[in-house]
């Protein structure tokens, strides 16, 4: 088993004095390449905080974080932006898509922003991903007009666009009805099986978590199970 990422002794504290919230308190975690893991824990337990740190969108107060052999705690904004673009995909619960762009335009964004333009090659891959997500009829649809489940599937396609090693999904199904949620989870499982992409999916839904091979439970700022 090869480690994709490793965090150790992670601390994250918000605010100071009276308002001080110590969210992560020495958390350590390793994810192997190709894992499909659920991040479980009650609301407010720090799931989103951990995902944001793993996604290099926020720095921990202290602790170590390496992924693909790179130290991501000391790297500067430019290096992290580049790293995110190439190696990490995101699926968020809300505000996922750019509403003024079509489904396909949203999907190709990570590639286009890196290459400075939308190439036909990128559009071709974007189209394939949307077809894979069962959205062939919605390729050129304005993303604002898609249903919640469709939006999340577009978001999954976009997260996969640059063939990242890791996809972080923060309650990707939290907003969806049961059927749409299952459809999204099935697609994620399929990608994980076929392409070996590592997924870390936060949820407080046991049923969703049971679809993942590994369950990581956080509580009191630590991994408890």
């Amino acid at each position: 088993m090869t480690a994709l990422l490793e965090v150790s002794d992670l601390f994250k504290t918000f605010g100071s004095g009276e308002a001080e919230t110590r969210v992560l308190r020495g958390l350590s975690l390793t994810l192997a390449v190709g894992e499909m893991a659920a991040l479980l824990g009650p609301s407010g337990s720090g799931k989103s905080t951990l995902l944001t740190i793993l996604g290099t969108l926020m720095k921990p107060t202290s602790g170590c974080y390496t992924m693909l052999g790179q130290d991501l705690v000391t790297a500067d904004d430019r290096a992290l932006t580049e790293f995110r673009n190439r190696h990490i995909g995101f699926v968020f619960q809300f505000h996922n898509l750019l509403p003024d762009f079509t489904a396909l335009e949203n999907v190709v964004f990570p590639t286009a922003v890196r290459e400075g333009r939308e190439t036909e090659q990128a559009r071709e891959r974007g189209r394939e991903l949307l077809v894979r997500m069962g959205l062939e009829a919605r390729v050129d649809f304005p993303s604002a007009n898609l249903s919640g489940g469709q939006k999340q599937r577009v978001a999954v396609a976009r997260a996969l666009m640059n063939r990242p090693e890791l996809v972080l999904a923060d309650e990707p199904t939290g907003n969806l009805d049961r059927d749409s949620a299952m459809q999204v989870m099935d697609l994620i499982a399929e990608i994980n099986r076929d392409e070996g992409t590592t997924f870390l999916i936060s949820t407080h839904d046991e049923k969703i978590a049971s679809l993942c091979a590994r369950q990581i439970v956080v509580g009191d700022g630590l991994v408890t199970g």
Partner: protein
């Protein structure tokens, strides 16, 4: 950064009404800028053509030699040059200078003249007049006599005098009648009225008379030389530099019209300042409008900016997207404002046909290119603050998980 341009245009076209309003606001600012430029420029043109269009742009006036005495070691006066009394100061070598002056770039007309004081007598009536001798055949070189003639002709020949309507009325003179003109030197001539003019200038109409240069020579006992050389230029704003050039070339004291026109120049200057002031305000309005609209837009699009940053868009990319929006708004507003300004100025008479009572708008002085350039630059500057605030958006709080 083709892709950044695509995002920027999409953002602008996504909220069409808002963008249209913003562009319209910018266009109105540009319109005011252009309107002010055309008005201030046209007004200056109008005032100058009315006040100095008809006068000599550079004048070389003969000077009396300064009184001087030569005193020997014992204090005896050996020689003295007194200031002439009866004799007028002259430019004796005028004939040699004229071709030289004509060859100076920008000079369109050179008029050698003999001027002096005299008395006009018609029967018992006498009027004091200022007499000017002009080259026959080139009477309208400086003052457009031909254009002001109401009766007869401006042509001067031997025994002909041309005078103003006011003077003619004062002395009950009519075309073809004769009069006696006596100069300050005592010589006199009997002349026939060959033409009557009306310039609208009280001095010229009421107390000036024009005779031919040979007639003036007799009257003022000047067998050669002239007392004054008047010069007209193609560009009256070049008077100062051209005068210096002529002075250097001839050694004569060439005086540009701007000497002694300080008040006029100050008035024109103040007018231009007012124009700059209003144009600056128009630009400031544009800058504030663009800045506030874009600031609002960055605020509204915070979640999207967060998403883009999470997907690997750098700060530079975000700045580019918003600055490009500003530049596009500036360009669109600038172009449409300039077009609007041009269309609005079309109905005004051209600069050669200004009429009293209408605004002397000069469509050629709209500064269209300058207006568009300054607007684009202003809009880009205005978008820097919003763009920087957009680039500083924290993806975590913006996405708000």
């Amino acid at each position: 950064m083709l892709y950044g341009l695509k995002i920027a245009t999409r953002y602008l076209t996504a909220s069409k009404a808002q963008t249209a309003l913003l562009v319209l606001g910018v266009a109105v600012g540009v319109f005011i800028f252009i309107f002010m430029s055309a008005l201030i420029g046209g007004l200056a043109e109008f005032i100058l053509s009315r006040t100095v269009g008809d006068i000599s742009h550079i004048t070389i006036q003969a000077e009396d030699p300064d009184p001087a005495v030569l005193i020997d070691d014992d204090g005896h006066v050996l020689a003295a040059i007194e200031r002439g009394r009866a004799r007028t100061a002259t430019l004796p070598d005028a004939a040699t200078y004229l071709p030289l002056i004509k060859s100076v770039p920008g000079v369109v007309a050179v008029s050698p003249q003999i001027g002096g004081a005299g008395f006009l007598a018609r029967g018992a009536q006498v009027a004091q007049v200022s007499v000017t001798g002009l080259e026959p055949g080139r009477e309208s070189a400086i003052l457009n006599l031909r254009g002001y003639i109401v009766e007869g002709s401006e042509r001067l020949g031997s025994g002909i005098v041309v005078l103003g309507e006011t003077l003619a009325d004062d002395l009950s003179l009519r075309l073809g009648q004769t009069l006696r003109l006596q100069s300050s030197t005592g010589a006199s001539a009997v002349l026939t009225v060959g033409g009557i003019y009306d310039t609208g200038n009280g001095m010229i109409d009421g107390s000036s008379v024009y005779v031919s240069l040979p007639t003036a020579r007799t009257l003022f006992a000047l067998p050669q030389g002239v007392t004054r050389i008047e010069i007209k230029l193609s560009d009256l704003n070049a008077a100062d530099t051209t005068a210096l050039r002529i002075a250097a070339l001839t050694g004569l004291d060439a005086v540009p019209w701007t000497d002694g026109a300080e008040q006029l120049m100050e008035a024109l200057d103040a007018q231009a300042q007012t124009g700059y002031f209003l144009k600056t305000f128009a630009l400031i309005t544009i800058v504030i409008g663009v800045a506030s609209a874009l600031l609002l837009s960055t605020y509204r699009r915070r979640p999207e900016i967060g998403i883009m940053r999470a997907m690997g868009a750098g700060r530079g990319f975000v700045i580019f997207v918003f600055v490009t929006q500003g530049a596009l708004v500036g360009l669109l507003g600038g172009l449409s404002g300039a077009a609007l300004g041009y269309l609005a100025l079309l109905p005004f008479p051209s600069r050669d046909a200004f009429e009293a009572g209408t605004l002397p708008m000069d469509i050629t002085q709209g500064s269209y290119g300058l207006a568009i350039t300054l607007t684009v630059i202003g809009a880009i500057l205005a978008s820097i603050l919003p763009a920087r605030s957009a680039a500083r958006v924290d993806p975590v709080t913006a996405i708000g998980q």
